[in-house]
Amino acid sequence: MAEDVDKPAQKLLLIGGSAGSLEVILTMLPHIILRDHLAMVIVLHRKGGDDSAVLISLLKDRTSIPVKEAEGKEIIAGGHIYVAPGDYHLLIEKNKTFTLDFSEKIHFSRPSIDVSFQTGTEAFGTATIGVLLSGASKDGTEGLRSINSAGGISVVQTPDSSVVDFMPANAIRYASPKEMLNVTELIDYINRL
């Protein structure tokens, strides 16, 4: 695999979002510095499923960090941004590689944020950071709970800074996130990871 030369990341930053979250990511990206030990994995709900190429080119335009669609068996390398492909769940293995999965939708969505958060936390344990952004879904709450119980760090976008506040509000209610941050604070927080 092309990425075989890269070392697996030591820390995993998972970012999940639904309606209103793409804008947040596009705002944050130009300011994000990703250090070598940290990999970022973005799991976004989207309509129609399979338009990853457009999404990835939007992200690439805003950062010099390597951005790519996550591929099955690929090693999760530090200093990289990976995007979950449309219409697949993105699973993270204990050997720090990805697996794509075409099982049932969860909360009407594939990719599911919960699935990536849950398997990511199994693989990275306390070195897992999950950030849940704006959205209209219940997806992500269970995932943040898993991150909490494994000793990782759960973060949500503040509901009042979210275009659609249902997703972060649901997580605040049922997952007791460790941090609630607006977009500016999120940038600062990620850069210190």
């Binding site: 068996k73 293995e93 204990k94 697996t99 794509l100 699935v115 119980s149």
Partner: protein
């Protein structure tokens, strides 16, 4: 959620399925297998995985159900429009030059893709000289495929997929609606042979001009993918085609050098 499942317990279950029932899941994605097992555990209210392992040990019917749940059986008709367009416009005209067309749908699950292929072959006037082998690891799933009865709730999406893929008819002409189900035309299965086949442990059983195996190998580790790709290579005639899922590839495998990719689709031709 029963999250107190250890890796050792999962290995114990997989070893039991292998040694007692001959199903080898050791080369499957651990993250996927664990998710499937947790899902089954919470659906059936077992008090931990050890209780489930006991049941699997004593109850062959239950073991079969467990195997069916560990594997992912989600599939669609005419998924990925450009793939079916490529089949219709590029692959089938080549297959038409053969007196007899043999196609293998490996890991066909409940059969939606086989019926899609049968529809394409019918519309291109190739069905009469075709033979489709539809195989899956699970006998229960193959039984469903053989029935050709799918939820009516899916038909709106499938009809849309079919049109996007260049469908030539009204999709509804291929099934009759009945109590929430769509029963597909019996003529579509005249040339389909349904059988169980385990890609992990069974060997090649014929030679084909087209093998379709979409979103099956995504759950396999690299070694198992390599084994299965060799099995496909052994089962393909020279100049035959191998069709994989939208995010699958033969790159980095030992068969790569003998195959050439068709357009930009996930279809490779054996050279």
């Amino acid at each position: 959620m029963t999250n107190a499942v250890t890796d050792e317990e999962i290995t114990a279950l997989l070893m039991l399925l292998l040694e007692q029932y001959g199903y080898d899941f050791l080369g499957y994605s651990r993250a996927s297998v664990k998710r499937r097992i947790l899902r089954l555990l919470s659906a059936e209210k077992f008090n931990g995985l050890t209780a489930m392992i006991q049941r699997v040990k004593l109850d062959a019917d239950y073991a079969r159900r467990c195997i069916e749940e560990i594997t992912v059986n989600v599939t669609e008709m005419f998924r990925d429009a450009s793939f079916y367009q490529c089949l219709r416009n590029t692959i089938l005209p080549v297959l038409n030059t053969y007196p007899m067309i043999r196609i293998w749908h490996a890991g066909c699950s409940t059969g939606e893709e086989v019926y899609s292929m049968a529809i394409l072959l019918q519309e291109e006037n190739l069905y009469h000289k075709s033979l489709l082998y539809a195989t899956d690891i699970n006998p229960g799933v193959i039984e469903k495929a053989r029935k050709g009865v799918f939820p009516i709730s899916q038909m709106k999406m499938y009809s849309g997929n079919y049109m996007a893929a260049g469908g030539k008819e009204a999709f509804s002409k291929y099934y009759t609606a009945n109590y929430g189900y769509a029963r597909f035309d019996e003529r579509l299965k005249e040339k389909i042979i349904f059988a169980t086949h385990n890609l992990v442990t069974d060997k090649s059983f014929n030679e084909f001009q087209l093998i379709v195996c979409r979103n099956v190998m995504i759950y396999f580790d690299k070694d198992l993918q390599e084994t299965v790709l060799k099995l496909f290579d052994d089962s393909l005639e020279s100049l035959g085609f191998l069709a994989l899922g939208a995010r699958e590839t033969i790159r980095f495998s030992s068969i790569e050098t003998r195959f050439r990719q068709v357009d930009k689709e996930r279809i490779w031709r054996k050279m």
